[in-house]
């Protein structure tokens, strides 16, 4: 009961502190130098135990009237007090640059990258990075005048743009008795592609060619040509490359005509399932190495090929139904 009550009070205090910090800090730019004004510091649980130990030692020293006991007690207390400065100083002036995350499919994890830049001529110890109040934490020591890059993962929960939670940068240096921390309210978003339908849906794969305007031929080998930017690496004739040193690309007849992946060609009524199937077809089309385009209500992606096209199409699918501003 007591513990639960205490936890409630602590949680309430934490909420109040967070919203207060949010109000006074506002939204942060992508790169922030941790100024002393935004660094908070409180004792950790180990710090409270340490304080209790010091107090018991003080009582003991008084009881035995033992001056060496006093000396030990006072030395430990002074070390704890001095370590406040060190804990705070370890964080102050650190530059944190948010570098964003690559798009991932729903259910996979974003890897949000952060660069920690230490301009100071001294090591910064045990910098801890985590999403405020959730997820795993990462630790790193940043050596003098250098930078380290850390990635924090975040599960992509639904397609579209996903806002990353508030970032917490903290340290318990030097003795783990205190924790200083700063909150970063960076507007970080990651793009979550729709989860593609399972490959096993053979019908969808089969319908690719039927749905395309040009259904005349299968992939008939039609010779090789010089590599051009945008060609899929899968189509490079690696054997020929090894032999001649020239990057040649296998050409198939019928590959010249673009494949259209069309919203209306997908019979599924359920929007999400339809998007999943379209996403699968985008992936298949990209694998096949052909030019492909996407037509969905309100958006048309002109035919092209390669990873860039794949991204454009998946992004368009991810943002179906999202507001216009988010799509832009």
């Amino acid at each position: 009961m007591m513990a639960a009550g205490l936890a409630n009070i602590t949680a309430g205090f934490g909420r109040a502190l967070r919203s207060w910090a949010q109000r006074r800090q506002g939204i942060d730019p992508l790169e922030v130098e941790l100024h002393t004004r935004r660094i908070y510091i409180l004792p950790t649980r180990a710090g409270l135990v340490f304080a209790l130990i010091t107090f018991v030692m003080l009582l003991g020293a008084m009881n035995y009237n033992n001056n060496l006991g006093f000396a030990l007690t006072f030395l430990l207390a002074a070390v704890a007090i001095v370590s406040i400065n060190h804990c705070h100083y370890n964080l102050a002036g650190l530059r944190v640059a948010a570098m964003g995350a690559e798009p991932v499919f729903v259910g996979d994890k974003f890897q949000f990258q952060f660069a920690l830049h230490n301009a100071r001529d001294a090591r910064r110890w045990q910098i801890r990075l985590n999403w405020d109040g959730q997820g795993e934490a990462k630790y790193v020591d940043v050596p003098a005048t250098s930078q380290k890059i850390l990635a924090l993962s975040l599960v992509a929960e639904q397609r579209g743009l996903q806002r990353a939670p508030r970032l917490r940068v903290s340290t318990r240096f030097p003795l783990g008795l205190l924790q200083s921390w700063a909150w970063l309210n960076v507007e970080l978003t990651g793009l979550a592609y729709p989860r593609p339908a399972e490959r096993a849906l053979g019908a969808a794969a089969g319908s690719l060619t039927q749905a395309g305007a040009n259904t005349s031929g299968e992939d008939d080998y039609a010779g090789m040509r010089q590599w051009r930017p945008g060609d899929s690496p899968r189509r490079i004739a690696w054997k020929a490359f090894a032999r001649t040193g020239q990057r040649l690309v296998n050409e198939y007849s019928g590959a010249g005509a673009p494949v259209w992946i069309d919203w209306s060609s997908e019979p599924d009524r359920n929007t999400e399932q339809r998007i999943a199937k379209l996403a699968r077809r985008v992936l298949n089309a990209e694998t096949s190495g052909r030019e492909f385009g996407l037509r969905i209500p309100g958006v048309e992606v002109a035919p092209a090929q390669g990873p860039g096209q794949r991204h454009r199409c998946l992004q368009a699918l991810a943002l179906v139904g999202a507001s216009a501003s988010a799509a832009a």
Binding site: I53, A78, Y89, A119, D121, V140, K148, G176
Partner: protein, 670 residues
């Protein structure tokens, strides 16, 4: 790249790094070392076995024992302590228990929190070591111990393994050095509330040497071989003669035929009022080593003293209500008259004449015969002393063992003994002749340390003499002086070096009188006086020294607050400077370069690049062209080419500091 990821402590890998375990082992070692001479042997053996196993387990990735192993092991450790010490409190048993607990904790160290708990227990162990050991080397050990423990804490509170020992030690060493002024301030000004708040546990195995409440033949012989210091004395002015240095301790009035014992302390009459304050006297300060008993020692006959809660008991013995568990310093003044006042009631006279019926019959008849031959009591006592002096009585540290009728055996058979034998025999003979008498134990003589100008009285100086009631006061008789006058004239050393006592260790004695030893003793005394003896009185003295006439708790708290604000302000200012300075050394130097260049013509425009600005200034000031090109070029290279090299940046900063351009071109001067 140390991008290796470690999750938070609940998900952390079970083992922690081997390096962190090694640091825990170091912490345990530092904590257990000062306890080694005192704790039962099985405890350190258990500790090393568990630590060794734990390290192997980490190295070979063995699984840690389950609760089924740990709990019985912990319980048997607890039982072991209980069986060994018959208690779990007290310094010895408590330390042993703490050690066992810390060791058991090592078997379940999974996370950062478990490791920190082990270090915390080590802090307690270090603390308890100082309850026992307060020698001069103790503060050095304190410092080293704290250094190792906080380094261990620094290492084990890391989430991804240890850093290099040198790096960690440098960091924690700096922390410790910065903490020292604050710790000193606390030590000097933190209000000391005198304890004890709870009863002091027994000192356990550490029996204290010293006088006791009783004396049987041969007891003092054991003390005579001990170099342990009983107390130190500093006289105001000249010290009295060596033969006047009778340090009065327990008064033994009860005799059972063999053993002398203290009488239960009764009422406390104001005996000092009977003293006439005249004749030679001495004023001095005693620093008494703790002996666990309630009596204080003072030069015979004390008339004034400032020891806390001390009174004179009925047999004129200076006693305190609480046992002397700590080193105690007090001042006193004594008359060197060789007499002490007393009140002789009928009951008291009976008690001080009492001899157990049927004991020492030959001594009784000897006393009656000798008394009949003497004119008065004083003459009789002189006759007894003459007997000791003229008949073949010997002074020996290794006397023959006495039988049941100890005094008879001594007077008629063995005829050799130590001060206790002579004092005992003398008092028995006096009582047998109807003269109230008692045995006084204490110390006689001492040794001057000329470096510190104090006297050192050791257990070896323990002595016993007699007091008899003559002419309404107690008069000191020292029968040992009749047998071995050199013992009184020259002290213990004199008696031994003159060959009258066998079995003394010549080499040890000689070492104790060397200059080296004297310096060591002087250092120890200063340590005791200024550091270990620092207390509320010293705090008042300190405040008085700063000019406060009536020091109080308020002044202490105020001083502490001012000192803390000053120190923390100083630290804060330094901290702030560091923060400003370290932000970007290159930018700082560049700003300085621009400021200095601005004096020669115009400041840099906000959008102007370094090369641009340098060229612009060089056209107006061709005399500075080379320097400007070098400096601004260096900045541009440092800023925009490749990784920043601290050495090159500091070279650049130095070059900027040396750059002092003239405000005007040299030819423009007129």
């Amino acid at each position: 790249m140390s991008q290796q990821t470690t999750t938070d402590r609940r998900k952390e890998p079970a083992r922690g790094s081997l390096g962190q375990l090694l640091w825990l082992a170091a912490a345990l070692t530092v904590a257990v070392l000062p306890h080694l001479p005192y704790i039962a042997l099985w405890v350190p053996i258990l500790v090393s076995a568990v630590v060794g196993w734990r390290l192997l387990a980490a190295g070979y990735r063995w699984p840690l024992p389950s609760a089924w192993v740990r709990v019985p092991l912990a319980l048997s450790g607890f039982a072991g302590v209980l069986l060994t010490y018959r208690q779990v409190t007290g310094v010895d048993a408590g330390s042993a228990l703490l050690l066992v607990m810390a060791t058991m904790k090592l078997l379940e160290t999974r996370g950062q929190r478990d490791r920190a708990v082990v270090v915390f227990l080590c802090f307690f162990l270090l603390f308890s070591a100082f309850l026992r050991e307060q020698a001069l080397w103790a503060p050095a050990y304190l410092f080293i111990g704290v250094l190792v423990l906080i380094t261990a804490l620094l290492q084990v509170s890391r989430f991804d393994g240890t850093v290099k020992p040198a790096t960690a030690l440098a960091t924690s060493g700096r922390l410790l050095l910065q903490a020292l002024p604050l710790a000193a301030l606390f030590f000097l000004l933190f209000p000391r509330i005198p304890g004890p708040f709870w009863s002091l546990p027994q000192r356990g195995s550490q029996a204290m040497t010293g006088l006791s409440e009783s004396m049987s033949p041969g007891d003092i012989t054991d003390l005579a071989l001990s170099d342990a210091i009983a107390f130190r004395v500093r006289f105001d002015g000249d010290a009295p003669r060596g033969s006047d240095l009778y340090w009065r301790g327990p008064v033994l009035s009860e005799f059972d035929g063999r053993e002398w014992a203290m009488r239960a302390l009764g009422f406390f009459p104001k005996l000092t009022e009977q003293l006439r304050d005249e004749g030679p006297a001495a004023r001095y300060e005693i620093t008494l080593e703790p002996h666990g008993r309630r009596w204080l020692l003072a030069l015979e006959t004390p008339i004034e003293w400032d020891a806390e809660a001390a009174v004179i008991s009925a047999p004129y013995q200076l006693v305190r209500f609480r046992p002397i568990e700590q080193r105690t310093t007090y001042r006193a003044r004594s008359l060197l008259s060789g007499t002490t006042p007393g009140i002789m009631t009928e009951r008291g006279r009976t008690a001080d004449l009492k001899l157990p019926a049927g004991t020492n019959p030959r001594s009784l008849s000897l006393a009656q015969n000798m008394r009949a031959e003497s004119a008065d009591d004083a003459g009789y006592l002189d006759a007894v002393l003459s007997m000791f002096r003229e008949q073949p009585f010997f002074y020996s540290l290794t006397p023959a063992i006495l039988g049941a009728q100890s005094v008879d055996d001594f007077l008629f058979n063995t005829r050799e003994g130590f001060c206790g034998h002579y004092a005992s025999a003398f008092v028995v003979l006096a009582r047998a002749a109807g003269i109230p008498a008692r045995v006084i134990t204490g110390y006689q003589g001492g040794e001057l340390n000329p470096l510190a100008n104090h006297w050192v009285i050791r257990q070896a100086d323990a002595h016993a003499w007699a007091e008899v009631w003559l002419n309404d006061r107690w008069l000191r008789y020292d029968p040992t002086a009749a047998v071995a006058p050199e013992r009184i004239e020259w002290g213990m050393d004199g008696a031994l070096s003159r060959g009258s006592i066998a079995g003394a260790d010549e080499f040890r004695r000689r070492f104790l009188s060397t200059g080296l030893y004297m310096s060591w003793d002087a250092l120890n005394a200063a340590w005791n006086r200024w550091v270990l003896g620092f207390g509320p009185d010293s705090q008042s003295d300190l405040l008085r020294w700063t000019g406060i006439t009536a020091p109080s708790l308020r002044h202490l708290v105020l001083g502490l607050a001012i000192g803390m604000i000053a120190l923390l302000g100083l630290a804060g200012a330094w901290h702030y400077r560091q923060l400003q300075g370290s932000r970007e050394p290159l930018l700082r130097a560049y700003r300085q370069l621009c400021e200095r260049t601005a004096r020669t013509w115009r400041p840099r425009k906000p959008a102007e690049g370094p090369q641009e600005y340098a060229t612009a200034v060089a056209t107006v000031r061709p005399d500075l062209a080379t320097e400007l090109n070098t400096l601004f070029g260096a900045y541009a290279r440092l800023r925009y080419d490749g990784p920043q090299d601290t050495r090159r940046i500091s070279a650049f900063s130095r070059a900027v500091r040396r750059f002092r351009p003239a405000r005007r071109p040299p030819d423009a001067r007129d």
